[in-house]
């Protein structure tokens, strides 16, 4: 933390301009919808207006009769016989026998213009037989709920469970009943959170081209080009290597762009239209109705606490729906919810439940915000009851290196205690609050992730370097990877260009997800730079006629290592690169692995709110994010991640929610009624970057993208209670619900 007095590194930890900045502010950056091709057609998608319906017939004749309409596809244009998640993806791409949610794609059409495609889509006649539907998770788990899909449960679900339960989990350790018996106070509460959407500014867009020979190309806005390739080829029954996928610049993803939606439709339409490229750009309504929001949750938590603040036992039972397919992040929610605390007695039970909603996708720390809302809310209420300082309670129970986590594995190096101590020291905590104002504190956790990674680095003839990575830059990874590469090679930040490349250029990469890009691609780039350095030392050694081991790399140049190696002036990277054609050819380095050494990240948030007691409206007065980054490679980007996570969490806490009408249709598929915070809703969000370096990464990186969305939900609920004395257990804490709670209290 004492970076200002002592700097270990020349570049790591500085804040240079972002490499994509000029392109983005001048409009030159090319996003998904900016890509066009000669002879291109436009695609439009016909979507179910029903939450649950049998598709009786689809008649495209009127659409096909229009001049300029080139192809219509339905499920019949996709191969049969898929299983498991491949089948789920196909079924979600285009409905088979039944439409499973409002917005589910039923058919798609390609035409010579966007307007024509949209008109043709309106002319495709679909006959439906409407079926009973279920939306809420507590309704969906009832034994007599409408059955979304018989036989969808996996082996984890015991006999006799309600029909929409598709995964079940039950794990823990110790004896929770004995633990509750030891406590001075045992409380049990139920909580609910509603589905929310990532709300990225850029709607999904792609341009797909597929010939009769099974060879294809796709340009697409995505967090992961190899996932697009794998999923599209699975859904269409193609060979993975025959599809080349190029990612565009990306206007946000937050997990929602790690899977496929309309991409296979563009390929199927292209194939049917004789191989012409087909572009599909979603509207905002399509994004909200038919991409991958997060799950909604219903949660029961029971905790035992001693007067001295020790947690004696904890139990969580979570029910989540993630749409009409398995995959609600109930497991993640359970793993994360007690992770900040050192527990001997802990129990978890989880249900993944189907409902007539879109298939959920990842959303920033999937599951963790819901679990944190329940657990951190209850702990706060209990601290109030026992008059214990909530920060002291958290310090008392905080996990440290070597402790067994609540979900099993032992923690490596972690920085929760340092994070809580930095929070305690922050001046925001001593600001006096006025009437109807309150302060709330909560902690949060995310594992972080490694994943398949392949990176290639090449030294150019002039001694600059290019790095090819497979992880799209959604949070500043190009800047961070350039900083780490330049630091390693001993050259300038501007001398490194990091390119996010297409699937044909590297081995398989997982998407930018799990806060992994700066960790995994960054680590691979540093290792690749090490290979290039070794080769450059070898070339210098050859020229000097000494052993390669007698050469070391210092400040961007090869030099003899010690007096025994002989007297030679340093040979710079530019000198070595300038003659590489004569000394053995191109100089490069590459690295492929699932990088070991992931470092988890804990955070603690403190929010001050003011509640208008006459309208129930909550204003965020002050907001503080404290989080362990391991090491902040580019601190401005780290702060941006902290602030972005907090902003999304604030939206989720206060106003965002999927609202359904009684027919199961999404009632708010526009940003007017799906209320993400606007800039004027938020104060400047204060940040403190704690740095407990991750020993598993050459520069100490943990990964910072996700933890920040977990504490806001409970922190704001805790602050509202502090301000006006009502405990909100159901998100969002909109003015109407807060006012109703105030009235109910009287």
């Amino acid at each position: 933390m004492a970076k200002d007095e002592f700097r270990e590194f020349k570049l790591v930890g500085t804040r240079p301009d972002r490499p994509d900045g000029l392109d983005k502010v001048t409009g030159r950056a090319r996003y998904g919808a900016d890509i066009s091709a000669p002879g291109m057609l436009w695609g439009a998608v016909v979507r179910s207006p029903h939450a649950h319906a049998r598709i009786v017939s689809i008649d495209p004749s009127k659409a096909l009769a229009l001049d300029g309409v080139k192809a219509v596809v339905t499920r019949a244009d996709f191969p049969e016989g898929l299983t498991g998640e491949d089948w789920n993806l196909q079924e979600n791409t285009i409905a088979g026998e039944r439409a499973l949610y409002d917005g589910h794609a039923v058919a798609a059409v390609a035409a010579t213009s966007k307007l024509l495609a949209e008109e043709a889509a309106r002319l495709i006649a679909v006959e439906y037989e409407v079926l009973p539907h279920v939306i809420d998770v507590d309704d969906a788990i009832k034994p007599d709920a409408p059955v979304i899909r018989a036989g969808a449960a996996d082996a984890s679900v015991p006999e006799g469970m309600p029909p929409n339960v598709v995964r079940y989990m039950d794990f823990g350790r110790g004896d929770v009943e004995a633990g509750f018996a030891e406590a001075d106070l045992v409380m049990e509460r139920s909580y609910k959170t509603e589905a929310t959407h990532q709300g990225y500014i850029e709607p999904h867009a792609c341009l797909g081209q597929l010939g009769a020979d099974g060879k294809g190309e796709m340009w697409v806005c995505t967090q992961g080009q190899w996932y697009i390739r794998k999923m599209c080829t699975a859904v269409l029954g193609l060979d993975a290597s025959q599809l080349r996928v190029t990612p565009s610049e990306i206007g946000g993803g937050f997990g929602g762009k790690t899977t496929i939606f309309m991409e296979p439709l563009s390929l199927a339409l292209s194939r049917k239209a004789g191989g012409k490229p087909v572009k599909i750009v979603m509207s905002r309504s399509e994004v909200l109705r038919a991409t991958g929001p997060t799950a909604s949750a219903s949660m029961d938590v029971k905790i035992g606490l001693k007067k001295d603040g020790t947690i004696t036992a904890a139990r969580a039972e979570f029910r989540m729906q993630g749409g009409a397919f398995p995959g609600a992040p109930v497991d993640m929610a359970l793993y994360c919810c007690f992770a900040p605390y050192n527990l001997t007695n802990v129990a978890h039970v989880g249900y993944d439940v189907l409902a007539n909603r879109p298939k959920c996708a990842a959303y920033r720390a999937p599951g963790s915000p819901m679990g944190a809302f329940a657990v951190e809310s209850l702990l706060d209420e209990m601290c109030r009851a026992l008059k214990i300082d909530p920060l002291q309670m958290r310090l008392k129970n905080a996990v440290k290196e070597g402790d067994k986590s609540s979900y099993g594995p032992r923690f490596g190096s972690i920085g929760l205690i340092e994070t809580l101590e930095a929070t305690q020291a922050h001046p925001n905590l001593s600001i006096k609050l006025g009437p109807n104002q309150g302060r709330g504190i909560a902690a949060g956790y995310w594992f972080n992730h490694n994943g398949e990674t392949s990176v290639s680095l090449a030294i150019s003839e002039d001694g600059t370097a290019q790095v090819s990575v497979g992880t799209p830059d959604i949070g500043g990874s190009r800047a961070s990877i350039a900083l780490m590469t330049a630091e390693t090679l001993g050259i300038g930040y501007e001398d490194v260009r990091v390119n996010v490349v297409e699937t044909g250029a590297l081995g398989v990469n997982e998407p930018t997800h799990g806060s992994r890009a700066t960790f995994a691609s960054g680590k691979a780039a540093v290792i690749a730079a090490g290979h290039a350095i070794k080769e450059m030392c070898r070339r210098a050694a050859t020229e000097w006629g000494i052993e390669p081991e007698a050469v070391e790399w210092v400040n961007g140049a090869a030099q003899p290592a010690g007096p025994n190696a002989g007297k030679h002036p340093p040979m710079t990277i530019a000198e070595i690169a300038g003659k590489m054609g004569q000394t053995g050819g191109p100089i490069s380095g590459h690295h492929e692995s699932v990088p070991e050494g992931v470092g988890a990240s804990f955070g603690c948030h403190v929010v001050d709110v003011e509640v208008d007691p006459e309208t129930g409206r909550t204003t965020i007065l002050r907001y503080l994010v404290v989080q362990d980054a391991g090491r902040a490679i580019h601190p401005a980007y780290v702060e941006g991640q902290y602030q972005g996570g907090a902003a999304q969490g604030i939206g989720w806490a206060l106003n965002e929610a999927y609202i359904y009408d009684d027919k199961g249709r999404l009632a708010n598929p526009v940003f007017l009624d799906y209320r993400i915070p606007v800039a004027s809703d938020l104060p400047m969000i204060d940040t403190v970057i704690v740095e407990v370096p991750n020993p598993g990464h050459p520069y100490g990186v943990r990964g910072v993208g996700e933890t920040g969305i977990t504490p806001p939900l409970p922190a704001i609920a805790n602050a509202i209670e502090d301000a006006v004395g009502v405990r909100m257990a159901h998100l969002p804490m909109s003015p109407a619900t807060v006012l109703a709670a105030l009235k109910a209290r009287g």
Partner: protein, 288 residues
Amino acid sequence: MRYHTPSTFRDAAQIAAGASGVTRFLAGGTDVLVQLRAGAVIPDDLIDLKKIAGVYDIARTGDGGWRIGIAVPGIALGAHEALRAEWPGVVEGMELVGSTQVQGRATLTGNLCNGSPAADSVPGLVAAGASVEVTGPDGQRTVAVQDIPSGPGKTSLKPGELISAILLPARGDHAGDAYLRFIPRSEMDIAVVGCAVSLRLDGDTVTEARVALGAVAPVVKLVPAAAQAIVGTALDDAALDKLAAAASAACAPIDDKRGTIAFRTEVAGVLAKRAAKIAYSRAKGDRA
């Protein structure tokens, strides 16, 4: 779609009278074009009124009031010092509409004729006692603003009729108005409840008042009982409570994604009090 650019209101009325399909007038287009792009309303005839002379003018009328052209955007209304000084509540209602970009286009007339119960400029106009000049194929008539909306998305204008100007009465002395809306966020949102109050004082005593509510009924509502609650008082706490009760009692809202019946009813009273206090202090001469 046929796009027309008539040069007089009479021509516009005639085109509209002769059209048989979906017809829309184009003022700022911030409702019309959004609805068109969303595929919600695709007009057969689109009649652009911005080529008609005088539609961008704000002019003093013979009786000391104002005549506001149908294409005057929010930003021009806000920049008009004299109008703003006399009718701050009307101006602030319009200025709440949309963002800076939307303000460059959006008009009072369009806001009124779009027929939204939540239209932000309409309660202020109703409280002000504003009227509109209506031009039809057969001539002109003047109609009170509160009589224009007839239901969500609907107006009482007959086929072929359109508004040719907004008319504000003379303000007179010791008077003030104010508009407040409740939204969950701080900007770029739609009123869950809106309330405008216009009043006149004699010393400390309210002698005249008009109270209008938005988003609590199918149309913006003038609430005489709420006005009566404060006339003859110095806006003491008892009068404010009566005002709030009368405003809440006038509400006939719906439960929807934007707010509940209970919430809208309660907050209508809260906003009425708050708006009345602002109007009162403006009438006293505070330029806040």
